[in-house]
Symmetry: C2
Subunit: 612 residues, 2 copies
């Protein structure tokens, strides 16, 4: 049983990395490309894009230039339209130019507003100055990706519901309850979270290659989404009935159909190259890229196919296959990394690709990470209010009978639920606030940072459950103490992974961090304070509750109440702390500090006068 779970876990890890077998473009090839296609003024910014963030998705098609030339206005029937049409054809260049300018500003405004430049929908941004074939209905992919992120974040957190809704008896020992009732469900939750994050990462990779969409691709993506939403269910079936081949068949079937759909998307996109990323568009061997991407995409479904075939014969082998599918790329990447550290960087072949490399420092689309994280935070924050709205509206008949018509008394019975909800919302909201502050200063998100973010989010998902447990048990029972300690542990890990993201980013701070939060930057200390507040408070609360277990509940509730105010006055606290530290450690430098402060005050006055 445990072996199977281990295999499954390993299988999932390998699945996550199964497509990571390509090496990036050499600098030589990249600079050849740069010299061959000297960028236009606007393109220069995009070159910087490509260096730091390949596959920047914001390019538009401009079909109306070619549309005007091609007279492609044959839309409406009727004779009067012909005259209008040709008149439009004559004016259309001037109209178009005018609207083009206007629409560029609309586009910039939209870019300014939220990047949803979808209103200026059909732009054909080509590197080659010649016009491209106008494809009607080509659109920016932003809203599609936002919707996909919303859907995937809901699905990622869906398996926390069975965990949260597990009823536990008050007289049982919490420890045994956790072991007996919850372990399987928590394991299923964590593994489906990982699986869905894997599928989401594959989706990101695909849409870094396919940067524009049209109606057909939008519909194919919706079909893909439908299958992703079915993955957690098939996995929980597989986990509940590991010997029954139906679970494996359904899971592998989902993965295979998803692979087929993604291949169809790739084939469709390559048949219309203006949908692709610029690097691939200007490349001379698109067929090579197409075959590589297809090979990578179809690798996992093929292995799942064999796994499903073997499940009829010898189902343990199918689990082994799933494990291999997931494990092998990790091994190969680790070997490559070790070899590069030992021998030196390996010379890459010139035909290698910039996409689908899956090195740990490969950039991951930061706004998709933020969108997915926002979705998970929003779902988890409101998890308990969904239950309250559904279950905790008392029945009037019950109120009359049991509480003598007193609604206040009836609601007082739900007091613990309300407290659990407010505490959970506050904690998840503040963790979101820290996440938001962190990613405000992160300029480039790498894959490793994405992985750490996934771990942090997985722990965040456990928070509502923990708070529910905290408030469910009678006061001063050891169940309550254990529930409080579990909550502290979860908060600690959720916060510590966020801190780890920042530490990892600090290692390559020139690339990944805004100057303000680099070591020595003005926001460095504040960021450190924000990121370490929750882990420190959780640690302190844990040890306090170990020492003063009698007062564990008041201590925990005190922590819940003070942390929001601590965040509000964090800057003040940090400044006070720094001043105290300076006083303690550098008492002989007051004049220097005073000089700096005076300089600050002097230069500050004119600014204060500017702003009334």
């Amino acid at each position: 049983m445990i072996t199977r779970y281990a295999f499954l876990f390993l299988a999932l890890l390998c699945f996550r990395n199964s497509t990571k077998l390509y090496t990036p473009w050499t600098h030589h090839e990249y600079f050849t490309y740069k010299n061959k296609y000297p960028p236009k003024k606007k393109r220069k910014k995009r070159k910087k894009n490509l260096k730091n963030k390949p596959g920047s998705r914001f390019r538009f098609l401009r079909p109306w230039k070619s549309a005007a030339a091609a007279g492609l206005f044959a839309n409406s029937p009727g004779s009067s339209r012909v005259r209008v049409r040709s008149a439009m054809g004559e004016n259309v260049d001037s109209e178009i130019i005018e609207h083009h300018v206007e629409d560029e500003e609309v586009e910039e405004r939209r870019m300014g507003a939220r990047g949803h430049a979808a209103s200026s929908s059909s732009f054909l941004g080509g590197v080659a100055p010649s016009d491209r074939e106008s494809q009607s209905g080509t659109q920016s992919s932003h809203r599609l990706l936002a919707y996909s992120d919303a859907l995937i974040s809901i699905i990622a957190t869906v398996m926390i519901l069975p965990v949260a809704h597990t009823k536990m008896e008050n007289n049982e020992e919490l420890r045994e309850s956790v072991q007996l009732l919850l372990t399987t469900k928590i394991a299923v939750y964590l593994m489906t979270f990982l699986i869905v994050t894997v599928a989401w990462a594959a989706h990101i990779r695909l849409f870094q290659v396919v940067v524009r969409i049209d109606d057909c691709l939008a519909l194919l993506n919706l079909a893909c989404m439908m299958l992703i939403t079915f993955l957690p269910y098939t996995f929980s079936l597989m986990a509940a009935f590991p010997e029954n081949i139906l679970g494996i068949l359904l899971f592998c079937g989902c993965v295979m159909v998803m692979g087929v759909l993604q291949s169809v998307i790739v084939l469709y996109a390559f048949s219309r190259p203006f949908l692709l990323d610029e690097q691939i568009q200007i490349s001379e061997n698109q067929t090579f890229y197409k075959h590589h991407i297809l090979k990578v995409i179809m690798r996992v479904p093929l292995m799942c196919f064999f796994a499903s075939v073997f499940s009829f014969i010898f189902f343990q082998l199918s689990y082994v296959l799933l494990a291999i599918v997931i494990f092998l790329p990790y091994i190969s990447q680790s070997l490559k990394w070790c070899r590069s550290k030992a021998i030196g960087p390996v010379q890459e072949s010139p035909d290698s690709m910039l996409f689908y490399t899956h090195l740990p420092n490969e950039p991951l689309s930061k706004d998709r990470v933020e969108a997915f994280s926002d979705g998970v935070f929003a779902i988890v924050a409101t998890l308990l209010i969904l239950d309250i709205c559904e279950d905790n509206v008392p029945d009037p008949a019950v109120v009359q009978k049991q509480f003598g018509g007193s609604l206040v008394a009836a609601l007082r019975a739900y007091g613990p639920e309300y407290l659990a909800y407010f505490g959970s919302f506050a904690t998840v909201g503040l963790l979101w606030f820290v996440h938001h502050s962190l990613f405000l200063h992160v300029t480039k998100t790498t894959r490793f940072m994405g992985l750490l973010n996934t771990f942090s989010l997985a722990f965040v998902g456990g928070l509502p459950l923990a708070y529910q447990l905290t408030h469910e048990f009678p006061a001063d029972s050891c169940n309550e103490l254990e529930a409080i300690q579990i909550s502290c542990v979860i908060i600690f890990f959720a916060g510590i992974f966020q801190l780890t993201i920042w530490v990892v980013a600090l290692h390559s701070e020139q690339e990944t961090l805004h100057p303000y939060v680099r070591y020595g930057g003005r926001e460095h200390i504040f960021m450190l304070a924000k990121l370490s507040l929750y882990p420190c408070v959780a640690l302190v609360t844990f040890f306090l509750t170990c020492i003063l277990s009698k007062f564990s509940a008041p201590i925990f509730h005190l922590m819940e109440i003070t942390v929001p105010f601590a965040f509000l006055v964090l800057r003040l606290l940090v400044r006070v702390g720094l001043a105290l530290l300076r006083l303690v450690f550098c008492p002989n430098r007051p004049e220097q500090r005073g000089a700096i402060d005076e300089a600050e005050d002097e230069t500050r006055v004119p600014f204060n006068a500017l702003v009334t």
Copy 2:
């Protein structure tokens, strides 16, 4: 009972419009402002922003210029830092300028990527060329607003859960079931949807005034969100216990605390004017604006305060007050509109504001409408898979006992749930696809369009319930027929409100629509086809099921299956249809059409050759 509901509904309508009592800026004042502060090159684009979309949120603060001047680098303790600090101070200008350029491109790239230019966080965009006081930690508000939209969209749909989870007996007449069991719950769902949308609209208005945020505002916004999430619960209490004052007190209490929080946000923002929208920043009478906005914001909480006071004395009066709060602005706006149509436009006073006007054609932030709609579509699409993942994993013991160990047989019992889920996901996904196509071509969203969008989303929320009913009843029962007809009605209304948005936009198409979908544009017909596909199909299915009630289930399932394929080949179908229409109505113009087609073919060839 019904009177109370009517009052409540009216109260909510008035609540929705209770802050709509201001008239917009005159053109005179606007042009005076334009002449007084001639825009810089970059600003020119934003002037167009302001004309069409006031309160464009994407401006950044540039504190490091002033930070360098002010020497505000006193972050880290220790003597060695002083030297580094002053060295940084010397270099910092050049560093900053270089990074400024780079960061502008980072900013543009981020704007390109998704508008999340939060990485280049601290920009001080001032109209006045002088430097502004640098406020550390000032950020773009995009991610905060995205998170708020995600939370609010979850809360808006939360009251569909009790409706969806209502168990119904198979032998009851569906009509009576609907009347007895569901009417109240559906009414509560619709009213909470409306209330939450009202709160969301108020949130949009507030953050069109406060365009930048810092940590303190982010935390205040989170507190505001917590109260918004509590609104549906208090409303359902009020609906379940209308005579009990506790419901009214809780509801009014929530509204009052939200009003206080919003006032604190406004006061905080006005004390730091660089957080505000540009128009208010450069205006000379900021205090006037502050007082106006505060008056508008505090109006509803004050009325709710009086309503809660009266609930002790005479609770019917409190309901009347709530109704007045909501109803009065609608009346005043309608009177103004009638007067303007009869007499002519009223001369506005020069001190009137551009914000908080609430005219039906006042622009509403399009990306927030899209974000909120995406959230609702995502929640509704996955509503049934949440239940499947939680309830429909069979217990191994049950499978062994009841089905003799056959998992296939156990799952077959859940067949209707799966079918309901796939049908509901497909329909909601396709309605999202139509919504996406529509808003791709909408350049400006007005408040009236936002209202129609709300209605469409409210009906979308009812879809999972309808599909569940469809699959729940035995075949060929009249319950099933009624369920199918209810589904058709819901789909029809969801689609028809989307079509109405487009029709309304067509009335002012120069402002609100992209040229391609205006009347005579090349995408006009396709957009019309997309928007009318679902309403037409739903109508046809409804009448077919009335006529051939025996085959209602196969007809409905056939519709479910064919509509996605119809969307896939929609362009082809439309072209075929147009060709047929031309053949039928204009059979004597083949040579003109041929000429145009030839021209298209001729001009098309070179483009095809360009793209391999």
